[in-house]
Amino acid sequence: MNLFVRRQDNDLFKYLNEAQIRIFDNGMISEVHSAGTVILESTQAPTEILVLQSGELGLYSNDRKQKIGCIFEGEMVFELFYVMPQANIFTLIAEKDSVIMKVPFVDINRFCSMDMEVFVRIHAAINDSLCLKNISLTHRRN
């Protein structure tokens, strides 16, 4: 969308300024995962949007036979469950040594409810991410 200008490498916060990002500081957790680590099983319900700070993640079907997609640096995953809570069908695996930042859904809701500008810019960022993921599936060749 051409309403906002990208300001950050992090896709979730891409349209926020530094002051708007700072309100999320207390709730965010960074985690390091070695290549091959299962970060989230399909039996676990996501409660955070994950933003990949470095490395690469793979999103697989629950039986791990089908790779749904890759998450690269700066991209987010599990925004789907923030928008539409439901049972998880994905297993998330670190394809390379990875650092992820976890942003809890409850914090996103809390800060969005406090500041309309944060709300609209977070949702615009999620629009972009979900749209790209849909395009990656509609353009899939196999």
Binding site: L3, D63, L80, V120, N127, D128, C131, L137
Partner: protein, 144 residues
Amino acid sequence: MELLYLNEHPLLCFLDKAEIAKLNTIAIGKDFMAHDTIIRVNDRSRDLICIDEGSVSVQVEKIDGSIIEMARLHDGSLIGEMNFIIPTRRTANVVSITEIYATIYPYQRMMELFRDETAIAAKVFAALNVSLASKYWFMVGRLC
């Protein structure tokens, strides 16, 4: 701001009556006959279109010229949201199966409105996220 479903419209579901009235000032209602092309592949238009009455077929053309129907959508469906968010081009033809009444939300007029009406923008973006998430979920379900 808390998001509450106030109606079942795919784009207006979080808007109250006053906000819907504001958004409707830029909306254009349009009738289509059966077999009309509502969206044509490769078009650059970024307008959002809601099918209010009738049914449409979402079609792609193969290299050999044959047509494949990807989906049928009915009243209450939103189309065109991917090109609204990320400008590329239309990737499928949308053809009316029956007579259609559709509401068109022109991209440029929406952007002008959203610059002044942050709450409306926020709620429309949230509704678009629900629509995009549903489509993603549907496509992933077919893969898994």
